[in-house]
Symmetry: C2
Subunit: 344 residues, 2 copies
Amino acid sequence: MRIAHIAPVATTIPPPKSGSVETMTSLLTEGLVARGHHVTLFATGDSKTSARLEAIYPHGYWHDENMWPWELYEMLNLAAAVERAGDFDIIHYEAAYYPMSLAFARLSPTPIVQTLHHSPSAAEIRLWSRYPEAPFVAISNEQARLLDGLNVVATVLHGIDTDNFAFREKPDDYLLFLGRFTDGKGVLQAIEIARRVGMRLILAAAEDEYYREKVAPQVDGRTIVYFGEADFASKVKLYGGARALLYPIQAREPFGLVLAEAMACGTPVAALDKGAVREVVDQGETGVIFDDLEQMANELPRVFDLDRRRVRDRAVARFGVARMVEGYIDVYQRTVEASRARRP
Amino acid sequence: MRIAHIAPVATTIPPPKSGSVETMTSLLTEGLVARGHHVTLFATGDSKTSARLEAIYPHGYWHDENMWPWELYEMLNLAAAVERAGDFDIIHYEAAYYPMSLAFARLSPTPIVQTLHHSPSAAEIRLWSRYPEAPFVAISNEQARLLDGLNVVATVLHGIDTDNFAFREKPDDYLLFLGRFTDGKGVLQAIEIARRVGMRLILAAAEDEYYREKVAPQVDGRTIVYFGEADFASKVKLYGGARALLYPIQAREPFGLVLAEAMACGTPVAALDKGAVREVVDQGETGVIFDDLEQMANELPRVFDLDRRRVRDRAVARFGVARMVEGYIDVYQRTVEASRARRP
């Protein structure tokens, strides 16, 4: 197939440090090329890809305050593909945050499929419902349930590059929190758990206002340790050395990439039952999903008892890139067929 | 002609209180309908127009915090017109702030012309230059000069409804500042002038953070008086009663609607020589353009000596709606012809 893959133009593909959408976009593009598809990646000029790179901008707007308002940069990146729609069988729009693809849904002769990366509000769904035919891919069933009245063609869970997440059989003796410092991610709850069980907790995320105000006062360098933002190599080391990843999530997240990543290193997870957690964690196998914080504190050792080799194997089977790439190929094929059926 | 006029969907057309883009959009639409054109106004459902109203949204995003992110609402409003492009000879995109029309420039079979309502940055011009053929209308030559490398098809100065700006021959004894409270609009400089010449100054604008921090401490209720935000009727009264409008503008504004409005009431203006001021004010006839604040303070009585009847007549001749409407009809005709010439 001739595929236009439209990346966000915030930063490079793959991203310099973290960036789940950029990472996933890169893995998918590379996987499609490896399977012989003709992929044109619309991304920033400093991106690295084995697809054909189509770059309108030399770099992303995260790195250039002159690229403002950023929305227009995303929009013209997609427009550049739609203007050449005849060159492609399918256009896959990946840019985060809001589906500009809808604006082109009825103007593009080539179907545009959109992966959604956040949990939309009811008001957003109401607006998007103007385009009930526009094909969406959900990243979890949890998210798909929110897309009421929209054309959700599939749920494709994210894949991760499991080869790069080294398995570690014998961890060190600490707990890990990895993710942005927000109320939704539950960092304060993770600290509470660590204090109650008397284990060391390493916090890995970029320093920000929330960190300085709410987290830093609790960091003592002994029980609660701040690592900073981890690049990929450090992240893998941090996962591998942890007895468990703490995931006392407070918001209804549509996925939870850190869960899959930790599991790929053999590290079981201690999670609360929110959002897509049940779709990512196999209860009692790759982690334990607790009813509440109280139970997590009281029964945390159940997580340590899980077989790390089995955690790893299960993660590779469920979140390997191959499954995601094949999921998308199936989506593309079905979308192209549906579109041809509508236009005789 | 069959004209799709795409309003901003922030609030009603015309606006409830102030809103220069919404006011100008309304005047243009009504003027086009009065001349027998078939106008479809894409605006909020609570708008009032004699054109055919096409409303995707019941109300605007200024009045509904659920309508977020607002950019997508503007975009889908334009998309709704482009999807029916065959019904129109021309699409005129009016929504403020950034030209989403570019995204559709090469996808719409009907030409889209965009009026620009702000002074774009060099970075914006660089981005927009990807579409050197897309037709822009500038609202002043000052603004047109910024649009380097773009297709500026005309400069059309704003019109105002001069019938509704009642002429007043004998003013009261105060100076007037009307406009948003920002550094760029020069409210602090207006206060300085009033203090130096020992005249009363009335400030009319919505209360905001800037007002509370920087303006309120200088309001004494005698020399410096705060009126609040003026609705249309109050605005006309305030203009008419003023000996002069103070316009010590600090930013390079692309137009300056308050200048034309004050003049239409017979009130001469005291302005600094910035942005489009020289295009709006006739030196020594409808106002005095000063080199700097010092000169404005020293020579302010020159403004009071101007003939108010002549100020009014000149404003009506130059800023009446008819001139603006005819300017746009000319733009539409030339754009349609140019577009037909390119597509044989």
